[in-house]
């Protein structure tokens, strides 16, 4: 993957049935140098993401280019809550239920300030809830979520690569190589960190605790 340019590094999918709001959110996102795709419904969003719906709405949509699932790389989905048919909440649920899509961060927008609605969305896994009209200061909050998701998937890929390498090195099939277990433990930096904090400040500690772990 190498060095991606700072601009257009992330692709955001915006979902809103209001034409004006789509225009506004697109402008805000493009100003932040994101690549943007806008759709006007939840079902079109799922179509774009590669999931087929049971009841298909009009397949002819000029604003959405049909692309195979491999080509589509979406780093964040921002959706309006109140939409006819599939609401933003329904869309959120469908995304979180999908094994291929659940790691994509989802943000909800709404013109109505309803606390129960907000908490329901956050509980279902939405990263943020923005009240409309959405401002630049809201859009500035999106980057950390996309970076976190990116690092998480990179870590997972590294871990899978590591396991593959060790497996190919293993000669003995069933036998669990002790070195392999050690390597797997090192791949979970969070657990080790917590343990070392629980152990407290040991006077014996002469070298940094995180020796050997990848620090991001």
């Amino acid at each position: 993957m190498g060095m991606a340019a700072e601009s257009h590094e992330f692709h955001v999918l915006a979902v809103d049935d209001s034409h004006i709001d789509r225009k506004l959110i697109e402008r805000l996102l493009k100003t932040s140098s994101y690549q943007v795709t806008t759709v006007d419904s939840g079902s079109k969003a799922l179509e774009f993401l590669g999931l087929q719906e049971d009841e298909l709405s009009h397949p002819n949509q000029p604003s959405v280019s049909p692309s195979s699932q491999q080509d589509v790389q979406v780093n964040l989905i921002i959706t309006d809550y109140c939409m006819p048919g599939m609401t933003g909440y329904d869309l959120l649920k469908k995304i979180k239920e999908s094994s291929s899509l659940r790691d994509i961060p989802v943000v909800i927008m709404s013109s109505d300030n309803v606390p129960s609605r907000i908490s329901r969305c956050l509980e279902e896994g939405a990263e943020e809830f923005f009240l409309k009209p959405v401002r630049m200061s809201d859009v500035n909050k999106l980057r950390p979520h996309m970076l976190k998701a990116k690092y998480r998937s990179q870590d997972r890929e590294k871990q899978e690569d590591q396991e593959q390498i060790t497996e190919s090195q293993d000669e003995g099939g069933d036998k669990k190589h002790p070195r392999r277990l050690q390597q797997l433990q090192l791949q979970k930096p969070n657990n080790n960190k917590r343990k070392s904090m629980d152990e407290g400040l040991s006077p014996d500690r002469t070298r940094p605790r995180y020796n050997g772990l990848t620090v991001l």
């Binding site: 004006i20 225009k23 401002r135």
Partner: protein
């Protein structure tokens, strides 16, 4: 005699400046690379709103008024006026929705009139804003109106 004209001119400049402040949100999204943004969004707002107002008049004119449909239209109008910064239209829509909830036809009709009035008021303002924006973009005299 010149003094009166100067005062009028100053008032006009102040008024236009206040429009830029009032619609600061959409104004801030316009730049050299997107010089037509404000025009596009405002034109869209005019189109959408007038379509909705017509739909509302038609829906309220029915024998059996479908209040859910009326409410949906008002909700849409409330949303777009909020996005553009048309506060008074937005507020009038909020009141309208209450009458929809109560299925109060008289109340709805009064509100529709109110929303209409507020809409045409803001349309006037936005048209001035558009005119000045177009002039500013071509003459690069933007800074004069931004305090």
């Amino acid at each position: 005699m010149d003094g009166g004209l100067d005062l009028l001119q100053k008032q006009l400049v102040d008024y236009v400046a206040s429009l830029f402040n009032e619609f600061n949100q959409i104004q801030s999204l316009q730049d050299e690379s997107n010089p037509d943004f404000v025009v596009e969004v405002v034109s869209l707002f005019f189109e959408d709103s007038e379509k909705l107002l017509n739909e509302l008049a038609k829906s309220l004119d029915q024998q059996d008024v479908d209040f859910k449909k009326v409410d949906a239209h008002v909700h849409q109008l409330k949303g777009s006026s909020s996005s553009i910064g048309a506060q008074r239209v937005q507020n009038a829509c909020a009141t309208f929705r209450h009458y929809c909830d109560e299925k109060n036809i008289e109340g709805c009709l009064t509100c529709l009139q109110q929303v209409r009035n507020e809409y045409f008021l803001v349309k006037g303002k936005l048209e001035i804003l558009l005119k000045v924006t177009k002039q500013s973009t071509s003459r690069h005299s933007y800074s004069q109106l931004h305090s």
